[in-house]
């Protein structure tokens, strides 16, 4: 080995050793099991698929997407929710005021608008989520409609603007979102105070967060401190150009056309395979293929699975109620008789007849990935 090569190999070995040493230094995120760490400050944490084995995703496994540094924890006694704008009785509501309103509970998925971004090619900027920026939890709190009624919101207000307590460093824009009033007044749209029966944890928006069932996760603003009835939608970064999708599909790799971007609303139909894990090696024998499926404001009608790359499909067994907003778990008991490498696919169909596509349209921000899911497994004789 020449001196040059020796040096180079030594350098490569050192780099490897440094990486190995750093693995033990990864941060602990209080309240969370080991999560896929895309960003620790602020926290962007993806749920590993192996945790998706229950209808309700446990809080300690639920994904986290923070746009901005987390605000200082909000004291429950000091908390005030401002309700203003086009209202006849502006309000400063305490947590006790909100708890006095009728409380409603519903299971609903929150999925990051960019879940699956890492599957797009060419690559687009943003967190490279794969399957795990999603979770299904039970949310409890008053209806937004009841809060707006308390404040006497004008019937001519077309939008609800929501501000979270998080603020950006330097000139990073504030996180403000607008919802069409029709969706804000929907009986399933809540100001959640509880998640899976527990007071909302700080990392998920304590003490109160919006839940906008069936819409993209970014609609469900955390640490809500202000609701404003308005005539027009907010036009800040997180409404425009953030979280917009091309009205007309673009050739992959081409820049967005700002005038042709639209606000994302309801989410598409989608299924994901959670077991086996992609590229798993398993002994030849029966395998349970499992996953979840959801369809935004629709419910899941069926999930079909192929274990041969899409030649033949079989219906999976669905569990759980057929509800809009929430996911359904599915499984297929597969009894392969031959060893080898298998490509397994899952394809969901919803109650509106939407079917998961083979190709998810490329878009410059990598939103709304919902292509038929695909994993590979190698079955070997024991």
């Amino acid at each position: 080995m020449s001196p040059n090569r020796r040096e180079l190999f030594a350098a490569l070995l050192t780099a490897g050793a440094i990486r190995a040493a750093h693995a033990a230094d990864e941060p602990v995120i209080p309240g969370k099991r080991p999560m896929i760490l895309h960003n620790d400050r602020p926290e962007d944490l993806e749920t590993p698929v192996r945790y998706f084995d229950s209808y309700l995703t446990p809080i300690d496994a639920f994904f986290v997407r923070q746009h901005l540094p987390r605000p200082a924890p909000i004291d429950r006694a000091q908390y005030r929710l401002t309700v203003n704008g086009m209202v006849s009785k502006p309000q400063q509501l305490t947590l006790a005021d909100l708890e006095k309103l009728p409380q409603h509970t519903l299971p609903a998925v929150i999925e990051c608008t960019g879940n699956g971004r890492g599957f797009y090619s060419p690559k687009v900027p943003g967190i490279q989520w794969l399957r795990g920026a999603i979770g299904n939890a039970e949310w409890t709190g008053p209806r937004i409609a009841d809060i707006l009624k308390l404040a006497g919101a004008s019937e001519s207000a077309a939008y609800l603007e929501t501000d979270g307590a998080d603020t950006g460093a330097i000139n990073t824009p504030d996180f403000i979102r607008s919802l069409p009033m029709k969706k804000a007044l929907h009986p399933a749209t809540l100001l959640a105070l509880k998640m899976n029966g527990q007071p909302l944890p700080d990392i998920h928006g304590a003490p109160a967060r919006l839940i906008v069932p069936g819409w993209d996760g970014t609609s469900s603003v955390k640490w809500v401190i202000r609701l404003s009835a308005a005539a027009q939608p907010n036009n800040g970064f997180f409404m425009n150009p953030g979280y917009r999708y091309p009205k007309y599909a673009l050739p992959p790799g081409t820049p967005a056309r700002p005038a042709e971007l639209e606000v994302i609303e309801g989410m598409p139909v989608k299924s994901s395979i959670t077991a086996p894990e992609d590229q798993a090696k398993l002994p030849l024998g029966p395998v349970t293929v499992r996953g979840f499926a959801w369809a935004g404001e629709e419910a899941i009608e069926r999930v079909d699975v192929s274990t041969d790359g899409g030649s033949r499909w079989q219906p999976a067994d669905l569990t759980g109620p057929k509800l809009p907003f929430a996911w359904r778990l599915w499984k297929l008991d597969w009894k392969p008789t031959q060893p080898g490498y298998y490509t397994i696919l899952s394809r969901a169909t919803d109650t509106a007849g939407r079917v998961q596509p083979i190709v998810s349209p490329w878009n410059p921000s990598g939103y709304l990935w919902n292509a038929i899911d695909r994993i590979g497994v190698l079955l070997e004789r024991a």
Partner: protein, 97 residues
Amino acid sequence: MRIGIALIFLGAALAADQATLDRGQKEEARDCVACHSLRLIHSQRLSRATWNKELDKMTGWGTKITDRDALLEYLVANYGDDKPAPPPAMSQDGAKH
């Protein structure tokens, strides 16, 4: 053997520009950490044009970049779209905290 030779050439090519890359890495450490950890950068694999646009976006949000060319070279050399995706990092167990 061929791989070994290829590595030597790769090493030489990198070494030629090492000073710029070092300056770029210093820029990154100075400019990018006010709002987020470096993981957010290091987990992505983007083309030169896309990294350049990201620098525009961050500049617009108030990041002061002194040596933008060096920062861009460093990002492309280390986190270009021709590089393989990094293995996922996992946080340590915090469920009991």
